[in-house]
Amino acid sequence: MSTPMSVFDIAGRAMSAQIVRLNTVASNMANAGTVSGSEATAYRALKPVFQQVSDAPGVSTVKVTQVVQSNTQPTKRHDPENPLADKDGNVWDAGVDSAAELVDMIETQRQYQNNVQVMQTAKQLTLDTLRIEK
């Protein structure tokens, strides 16, 4: 068997993927209040696409293949006072579901913690194994 992925590779890359996800959540939350002058240019939530990466049977980690725009529709609002309003006096609020983003953030946090825990356990066991002859 040619050097299979170690637990540290698996958990480490999973943590990187979760960080990408956390970044998209942060971007979405930051843009939740963005207003745009047309539907096409309005902000839509960004979502990462996770895919498993495997180089040996049963051992696999995860990577982010791409970050896509979700199809959450921007909401049209009549606000003629707004400097960005179009000729009919409409503006579009960003297509971000804040509640869903918060849920996503908590899920990301928990999964990151899980991977940290896996890494800590693996580290401790490796150290115990190294110390066996003492």
């Binding site: 992925m5 637990v7 996800r21 928990r110 991977n115 896996v118 356990t121 066991l125």
Partner: protein, 120 residues
């Protein structure tokens, strides 16, 4: 293989299987959010039997032929069969068992060291 088997007995192979099982459970936890991912696990008893039987091949072969897919308690919409509580429990249990196996190995090494050093 022969000489280290005489020293470590069943525990050397058990430790290898435990280590591979840890990687597999770590994979499951890492892919907890990957759509379509199917969680897998090693049947430890069967793998150890296969690794220690008379016509045993390598430990890797023994492990590979005793891997199965986890049957989820409740299926999710995106086809992912990882259930974090299950995986975390299995991972913790496997870590404790790894340490136990390590203690057995430690005992063997201590015995041999004592024999080598004599009554000092």
């Amino acid at each position: 293989m022969g000489s280290d088997d005489a020293l470590f007995g069943i525990h050397g192979k058990a430790l290898q299987i435990r280590s591979q099982r840890m990687s597999m459970l770590a994979s499951n936890i890492a892919n907890a959010a990957t759509p379509g991912f199917k969680a897998r696990d090693i049947d430890f008893n069967k793998a150890l039997d296969a690794a220690t039987s008379q016509q045993a091949g390598s430990v890797d072969d023994a492990v590979e032929s005793n891997v199965g897919y986890r049957v989820p308690v409740e299926s999710s919409l995106n086809g992912n069969t990882v259930e974090l509580p299950v995986e975390q429990t299995q991972f913790a249990e496997n870590a404790v068992q790894y340490k136990t196996t390590l203690q057995f190995l430690q005992g063997r090494v201590d015995t041999v060291m004592q024999a080598l050093k004599g009554d000092q």
